[in-house]
Amino acid sequence: MAEHVPAKTPPLNEARHPGMDQTHHAYRTLTEAPRFTWPDGARIALTITLVLDYWELEPPKDASRDPRIVSPLGNFFPDWLTWSQREYGARVGIFRILETLDRFGLIPSVALGAAAATRYPELVDELTRRNACFMAHGIYATRRITSRLTEAEERAVIIESRDAVQATTGTTPAGWCGQDFTESTHTPALLAEAGFTYTTDWASDDRPFLLGPYHHHSLVALPPQPEWNDLECMWLRRVTPPVWADGIAEAFAYLHAEGGATFNLTLHPWITGQAHRTKWLREALTRVLGLPGIWRTTTDALAAQAREQL
């Protein structure tokens, strides 16, 4: 399929049928959604997604960056400011986050971009040592998959991303966390074809659901919950860290009470790894982990558990 271009005139006499306006998944209401059961009777599953990617100073002309992410000075070239700010995450910030996670007994699930995997071998070692699970995450932070790629190009990106994680960590990734949660219409089918079993690109729910099947293979859609993702919340919306931490604690408490849900917190070392924000990560986790009945897990284990109940 070529890139989708909307018509210039509004359609007339359109037929509309019950169900979604795409074929990836069915409609499901909160009342119909399963209340998942987690190991040891836990009320809620907790995962931490750590995004480790490499932001190019000079991306190719046809690369697709998330237009929302620009330097505070504007969209100019070269943007050493953003490049170095991101690099701070991999050099300094990530250790603050890892130390915090260690303290709370949390193992990160790492969205590992292919370029980051080769540029930061020490970090791959640090993470492997902690039994982190690794998801594929594209190649560069500055190259999203969009419907502007041909299907063949997209397939090649997915395979290269998968293979880079395999080559650097020694495990074939089961999960896919799309760069900036961007997909083409083909992406889920191509992920299934490449052997992935779950993705975190779809923010429609607080409980996992299935995408597909695509040639008999379905993908588990694990909720990324971007509302309290540090980038979406603190970087793009400029919500202050104390308010961010409050939101995390309240969302967790609410979902804990509702029962059978998942809670994922996505962190970027260059954002939450800034010292003044790390403080509020600790505050949020202290409040979150004050509740009983939490399954602290990784996205790999969560997806496998969820699949059994879908």
């Binding site: 210039k8 049928h17 306006d21 409609y27 909160l30 697709s64 998330d66 969009t146 609410y254």
Partner: protein, 303 residues
């Protein structure tokens, strides 16, 4: 030449508006129950998904969260507080999701059309295109609810110079596209009769969202706004609208704080918890003539 759609009338110079039971504030609560297309079928002006070539799975799924999850939390809240909502409805929602229509009908909620999809903007619509969208909205409502559609609220508040004439000619009773007032107000249209119903683009969760504010700020605004209009409403009846989006306020970190703000309002006597249809009926029956006389007198005095 400016369109003379909303004749000027300062609120304290109008005849006093009295609500049923001498309530001070008519409160209508408006969830925007919308659908944003995965692949928008149509685009002339604004790009509904400017973040990437379509689809934008993030934007799409974040909004779909409202219909799958957030709305069902809102139903629990409104059931507990006894709130009947007036829905700003993407009409395609009740075609795609009969479950939502069933749950709203069970609660006797009212609907005003918010266009077909919230990804189809009406900027630069020719009159026949805008009329067709209104007629299709009316038709969907009539077929699926058995009732006449009474309210018009342009999708994503995208409208034209013709919107109000067309809405009046199409037989709508009120529109939520204009924010000039704390009271309903008759618009000067050539055919039919169209009230401007005070919706809010200020007490509106997604407007706060864009400013980086969170639910504590929304709840504070709701309380503060209420305190003022409640006091003012003793002299001159007011409308208060709370506009929300289930994909925002139905998030687990927001719903309880929002609920507490509504409980605060509802703990006061003299609050008429109502719908746009009921406000329209009351206004037309008890107040419209007074306002028309006031406008005629004002025109006679000022030319």
């Amino acid at each position: 030449m400016e369109p003379d759609l909303v004749p000027y009338s300062p609120i304290l110079h109008r005849p006093p508006l009295r609500w049923p039971g001498d309530a001070r504030v008519a409160l209508w609560i408006v969830p925007n129950i919308e659908h944003y297309e995965y692949l928008p079928a149509f685009q002339r002006t604004r790009d509904p998904w400017p973040r990437s070539p379509h689809p934008d799975v993030l934007g799409y799924s974040q909004r779909d969260y409202g219909n799958r999850v957030g709305l069902w939390r809102l139903f629990e809240l409104t059931d507990a507080l006894g709130i009947r909502c007036t829905v700003s409805l993407s009409m395609a929602v009740i075609q795609h999701f009969p479950e939502i229509l069933g749950a709203m009908e069970q609660r006797s909620w009212e609907y005003m059309s918010h266009g077909l999809y919230n990804t189809r903007y009406h900027w630069n619509f020719a009159p026949d295109e805008e009329r067709a969208a209104m007629e299709e909205s009316k038709d969907i409502h009539q077929r699926l609810t058995g009732r006449r559609l009474r309210g018009w609220f342009s999708p994503a508040i995208t409208n034209t110079l013709n919107t109000f004439e067309l809405a009046a000619a199409a037989g709508f009773d009120y529109t939520a596209d204009l924010y000039h007032d704390d009271q309903p107000f008759p618009l000067k249209v050539k055919t039919g009769r169209l009230l401007s119903m005070p919706y809010s683009v200020d007490l509106n969760d997604v407007i706060l969202h864009r400013r980086g504010e969170e639910v504590s700020e929304f709840a504070r605004q709701i309380r503060d706004h209420f305190d003022i209009v409640y006091a003012e409403g003793a002299e001159q009846g007011r409308v208060m609208c709370i506009a929300l989006h289930p994909y925002w306020v139905g998030q687990p970190h927001r719903i309880r704080a929002f609920c507490a703000a509504l409980e605060y309002i509802l703990s006061h006597p003299g609050v008429w918890l109502t719908t746009a249809g009921e406000i329209t009926d009351w206004f037309n029956e008890h107040h419209l003539k007074l306002i028309e006389a006031h406008l005629a007198a004002r025109e006679a005095a000022n030319g």
